[in-house]
Symmetry: C2
Subunit: 480 residues, 2 copies
């Protein structure tokens, strides 16, 4: 029974199977009955709500406002920017009928909203006084996954936010792109406790239709990179076909500069992979729905009342310190079963209250991220818990940073590149001539793609592949 | 110019055109380029965020948790409950292709999620210990509108929440249905300042597949009723075809009792209709994105600085009282233009700061809901504003209550029923034998439907239509 409930494979032995078991068994998500789709269960949704809250406040502080645009997008809109359309064609879910009526033009179920939003912007923007227009949308998008799906990481529908802004000048759009990348970095590093590398995408890897794409990339324990969020300067690539024009301060007509940017529930998948262990999830306290669980332990009716009474008092004391906690008083389960259950769910702290703890005026505290327990006096318990939650948050980030460092290797030579990639994966930092041919060859021969081109690094050797002069530093990796 | 910006028809002369102009010109919403769809603009979305926040807190306080389920629903799911499927058939947007591939089974773009959610519940619910299962979803649903569309009231996609709960017994499901109806009533009356009538729907008007539907109905100034929210006991009508079974406390297998309930962005439309006037929107302070706007007034450079400095001080003082406010310092517009603009947008209070106000240590306050201005000393301004916002909230509710009372008429005779309905509309309270034939005849002959059957009222006369013994009291009205 316990075996069935817990994770049955070790993370080090079958990472993929371990990941799927943790996601499903911890109650974050479930498969839906339609292939490629998943259900975000309440426990996972609560994490998404915290991510949303952090980002929403940051976006609003920078002057963005939320809105909502239609789920369905006419094919003609998508086609207006040719490269963009090509990029999404194989993934689009097409609505062709309402009721029994055939539609005169088929409608795409939103794979991303640039085109339908820009159709509105073309009417809303007339003058430079209407700019910048800073709008964000919380919705879901659908992209048919033909490859095998993976909860949070690769599914045919995902929850995300998509920001869409319009500006007077390229410089303002550039600034917006970087500001948002920094908002994302703050969320991912400070809240999700996952260190990231930041940089540009290569032209082959950028968003379809973008002038350029910036990205944040994290390293997973299996040596594969995960794209955490992207922020694009779309230049005037969309404003021209969609005619987003404005009368400038110079009394002349100009095309707006637009940006778009997004992060998705994929971030939850990253949290699972980066912090989890063989027992299951480990959630960073700042985004954990539950930060501490209080387990009453008793073996006689005599002890039951006084143990439960104390457990409730502990809860009240912790809540005064704004710790999100609950007493697990499910009588049908043993304390041992509950320990396993909450470890699987990744609750950062467990507080045990037994008869002896009542007698001695203490509680026993166990950290999810470290072994061992500690006995703490009742009076100091709330501040100890508070302080320990901060330590857990920091420890998770430190551990992930160490992992990122260990899995980032600078290479100058293609043979070495291939053998490291084969043996342990990770980020391989190398120099590149900038030619899409070398990039494509490396991808073909090794499966590694350029994950990012760091913002300010100078080449330190020749091109990894062609050995001609390098123009750029690039981080290569196999990726999810 | 001013004419173009403001509302160009009187509410009393062309209610429908007035409504559409207010919605579009105040910046709540816009038409999308696809027929039947609309865009919720930031100003409208901020009202939706407040509605969501109020409901979300109430739902959670009652033990509900949020989740997310797929946008696409296999046709076979919808078909499993025959009546339900029939109810949505003509309205469904059908996905038949992904990319170039024909799907083996077509997928409905979510018209409501009972079926796909219950598919999951059938796997999640095994024992009575898994019950009640109390889940809510914030999403959008699509129903193709063949009739003419109206922003917020009738569009092919709308934002809403849908709650879906499963219970051990019918009694528990009954209790859930009523608890939610009360949450809705609290939102609508206390926050939106709109009084509602509560009751059951007749079988002809209930949700397709429900055992029974409860509803809240409001009266609009044009004499038509608007359904504000519904809460359904679905009985075992869905749990049987979807096999939501559980092992009961009696060790036997039972089918769960399920409920579903929802309110949509239609509530914003009701706010526009009920409170608005010839100048535009009037927003109840509790849900207004902006509760007070501060307008600096000056006609010389000399006055500009001191007026602006004071306006900022007023803003800070109001914000200390948690009043949502801003200084409108757009220099390209005159004060008069701004007055009109914020009146159109329905901001509850306007605070004017001119040179004389600076000299005299006062501000001038104008209420959106009443004529006239009042001069208030700087020191007392924040508490005056705070108190006045409460008065506005109450005044709007009182005015709407008076309107509801005036437009609710008790009738015993069908001739009188028809003439009142024709002349002034409103709720017509009458007695009914309970036969769907009388109900259908009345609808055919007058266009009025039974909006609700009040929970606890005894018949006071014979059936309005057939004049046989009445079994029920019913509120009839023409409806949106």
């Amino acid at each position: 029974m316990a075996k069935e409930i817990g994770v049955t494979v070790k993370r080090s032995e079958d990472f993929s199977e371990w990941y799927t078991q943790v996601v499903l068994k911890s109650g974050l998500a479930d498969y839906a009955s339609i292939k490629g789709f998943m259900v975000l269960k309440p426990y996972g949704y609560e994490i998404w709500e915290r991510i949303r809250q952090v980002l929403d406040e940051e976006f609003k502080a920078l002057g963005h406002r939320n809105a909502y645009f239609p789920t369905l997008i006419p094919e003609s809109f998508l086609k207006r920017e040719a490269e963009h359309f090509k990029g999404f064609t194989p993934e689009v879910f097409w609505v062709t009928k309402t009721g029994d009526d055939e539609l005169s033009e088929r409608l795409a179920v939103r794979p991303t909203s640039e085109t339908i939003i820009y159709d509105s912007y073309s009417r809303w923007i007339q003058s430079w006084r209407d700019l910048p227009l800073l709008i964000n949308v919380w919705n879901s998008v659908l992209r048919a996954e033909i490859k095998s799906t993976k909860p949070f990481i690769r599914s045919s529908e995902f929850l995300w936010q998509e920001g869409h802004t319009a500006h007077e000048t390229r410089e303002e759009a550039d600034k917006e792109v970087m500001e948002i990348l920094n908002v994302y970095r703050k969320l991912i590093e400070d809240y999700l406790a996952i260190p990231v590398l930041a940089g540009y995408k290569s032209d082959a890897e950028k968003f379809v239709g973008a002038l350029y794409t910036t990205t944040l990339e994290a390293m997973m324990p299996d040596g594969k990179a995960l794209q955490m969020g992207t922020s694009h300067n779309l230049g005037q690539n969309f404003s021209k076909p969609f005619e987003i024009k404005f009368l400038g301060r110079d009394e002349k007509e100009h095309y707006a500069w637009t940006t778009s940017w997004g992060v998705s529930w994929r971030l939850i998948g990253a949290v699972v992979m980066v912090h989890g262990d063989d027992k299951g999830l480990i959630l960073p306290p700042k985004i954990a729905p539950l930060q501490a669980v209080i387990i009453p332990i008793f073996y006689s009716e005599k002890d039951k009342d006084r143990v439960l009474a104390k457990a409730k008092k502990v809860k009240e004391a912790l809540e005064k310190e704004n710790v999100r906690c609950m007493v697990d008083d499910r009588f049908q389960y043993t304390p041992g079963w509950k320990f396993n259950d909450w470890e699987l769910k990744g609750v950062p702290l467990r507080v045990e209250v037994g008869p002896r703890d009542v007698d001695e005026g203490v509680v026993t505290v166990a950290r999810r991220d470290l072994k061992g327990k500690k006995t703490v006096g009742d009076m100091e318990a709330p501040s100890y818990v508070k302080k320990t939650l901060e330590e857990i948050q920091n420890n998770l980030f430190q551990k992930a940073s160490t992992m990122l460092k260990e899995k980032t290797i600078t290479v100058k030579e293609y043979g070495e590149f291939k053998s490291i990639l084969e043996e342990k994966g990770g980020f391989l930092k190398a120099c590149w001539c900038g030619s899409p041919i070398c990039e494509e060859k490396i991808k073909e021969e090794t499966g590694a793609t350029i994950r990012l081109i760091p913002f300010d690094e100078k080449p330190f050797s020749q091109c990894l592949y062609c050995e001609r002069e390098a123009t750029k530093v690039a981080y290569f990796a196999k990726a999810y």
